[in-house]
Subunit: 369 residues, 2 copies
């Protein structure tokens, strides 16, 4: 991202904060801070807090010992003021004096409770609301630069999935396979692995299983859901399902229905279509195949500087899709004690339909045992 990108985001946030009647928006280290000023500060106990005031200049409150790090970040080129505090100062009073709020302040959605309540106590009588209705509204619509960054992340995780069949063989444990995948996630273009799910056989029935000591057996289906973060801060997230040998007729038939479900949901993407309609497209397809009761989660989540962010593709979310919204489409089925499956791509809503960022084949990948 360029300095002008951040300057524009700050300007948009300031106007949106004024429209929302926020006296100030308070943003601590995390994805919102990185989005707004490019400062990828580590969330720690010392208070760092960007104060955005409608009509005023943003001020970054930071510990004195972080000044050099803040100035070295893209924030340094933005010309925002940096107000520092020493080890025995009260940073909450400092933020309160700069925010100068009388009615309502917004706090970033991921701010730690200790800081939320510290700011509450430093600003008696001021109502706190979440900043998400300003910042999430901005973050969920990706710019062309951001779509490029998500495409780079998708390409990187595609390369990892391309290597997964070579890691699967009888007797290897999920943990061993997971360690190899962790190395591949970094070597193929991420700065870190965020999550690694290798769910074999009956473990596949737990959508958020991670890895265990279970060793692969012939006939296992293996759900591999993996993701990482690139140096630009954008996340990848892709699921493919593999099988060691033949998982059986019943499984293959269910998988074919899942593949149809994932395709139907992807096909339903276009501007103006409510998020819940995408969920419904995936779900109806599985219900028709008699698998509805086994699809126990929503169809997807937005993605960007976080693996999970708005918009959520879930029943009840009537928000219409807009160009630039990026999210996962990941139906699955989970039969307790027996097996599971999931297919997941990241897509971006384009003017005429879904731009699918992941390119690996969606067929069940059967590996010779």
């Amino acid at each position: 991202m360029l300095t002008c990108d951040f300057a524009e985001r700050l300007a948009v946030a300031s106007v949106a904060a004024e429209q929302a009647q926020f006296d100030a928006v308070l943003v601590t280290p995390g994805p919102d801070l990185r989005y707004l000023i490019g400062y990828d500060a580590v969330p720690l106990e010392r208070l760092t807090c960007l104060v955005i005031r409608p009509g005023g200049t943003p001020v970054l409150v930071a510990p004195a010992l972080e000044r050099a790090a803040a100035e070295a970040s893209p924030a340094g080129a933005l010309g925002i003021d940096i107000a520092t505090w020493g080890e025995t100062d009260d940073p909450y009073a400092l933020v309160a004096s700069i925010a100068n709020a009388s009615r309502r302040v917004a706090v970033d959605d991921h701010m730690w409770a200790a800081k939320v309540l510290g700011l509450r106590d430093a600003m008696p009588g001021v109502d706190q609301v979440t900043a998400g209705r300003v910042v999430n509204e901005m973050r969920m619509r990706k710019s062309p630069h951001e779509v490029q960054a998500l495409q780079a992340a998708a390409d990187a995780i595609d390369r990892v999935h391309a290597a997964v069949p070579g890691l699967l063989c009888r007797g290897r444990s999920e943990q061993e396979i997971g360690r190899d995948i962790a190395e591949l996630i970094v070597s193929e273009g991420h700065v870190r692995a965020d999550f690694i799910i290798v769910a074999s056989g009956p473990n596949g029935a737990s959508p958020h299983h991670e890895v265990s000591g279970r060793r692969l057996q012939v006939g296992d289906a293996i759900v591999v859901d993996i993701g990482g973060t690139t140096d630009q801060g954008y996340c990848s997230d892709e699921t493919r399902t593999y099988a060691l040998g033949d998982p059986g007729d019943e499984y293959r038939a269910a998988y074919a229905a899942l593949q149809a479900s994932q395709a139907a949901a992807t096909k339903a993407v276009r501007p103006g279509v409510p998020c819940e309609t995408i969920d419904d497209a995936a779900r109806t397809s599985l219900v028709d195949a008699g698998l509805g009761e086994y699809f126990i989660h929503r169809t997807g989540h937005g993605i960007g500087l976080q693996t999970h962010e708005e918009p959520y593709i879930v029943a009840g979310n009537v928000r219409p899709l807009e160009p630039g919204m990026a999210f996962s489409i990941e139906p699955g089925f989970y039969v307790p004690g027996r097996f599971g499956a999931r297919i997941e791509d990241i897509v971006v809503c384009g003017p005429d339909g879904a731009q699918v960022l992941n390119a690996r084949p969606r067929d069940l990948v059967m590996v010779e045992p």
Copy 2:
């Protein structure tokens, strides 16, 4: 940790919550949840929340799709109730109905603001306070099992520092050195690297510098502050300062004063001594050497399931040390535009003084250029 460790922690927390007059303690994924029930859940947008009620049985509220993962964690053996919610249910109402609070609830210090405010809105009229005064009080006093876990982490990071001199040579960049250190942190016994500071030459003057493209020059001092998390969840954190060739008489004299400061602070550790006295011991030593103005941060922080936690070794903290408290002792000096230095060990307060967990020599390590 054993199931009985967690059961005891839950019992202690319940009693402490009653004494603090909390109707309930609400704990979302993060270090407090891992400490209390061993469930290392990833913090995500779906609400997972442990509800501890004085005199009642703890209840873990979790998304339905996380039930299997929760049961597979140590929490599964604890016999606590798990109440799950479906994708379109309101989990905040569910927590409110279980907490059944009328006056005051405590929320874990790291709970995300969106959840803090969601719970606030679901429990109108109920005051929110931070759970730290219950949970931090427990976490800051380490059990023998925890000290063992911290020793294992310290041994692992000692092995990494032992390899650092071999990574330093003229013309290598901080980033290149940092990448090698990241691999070593994992290969020497951590599940992940948490932070890597390689601050060479003038970059050493920024205490929280990370890595940059700057290449080592002869005469550079290099501050290397690194840490990771082990499979048991406990953190390492150790700083040593290296030099490529001779950094000069002035630097060596200042470093000798720093070494005396770090030793003086370590020697001051014993039960009953206030935290700020340890800070004062380190600071007085540097002030006497004419370096006081360059020691711009507190002397240390507690460490355990987080790299930074209570107790903080800082002026104004009159809390007396107790056996089992674990923290860093890390004075430094930072001369803007010129150089910096820091020496950091993790120590545990023992009955008669400091048990120093890190064993690497504290002398300035001069590497042949």
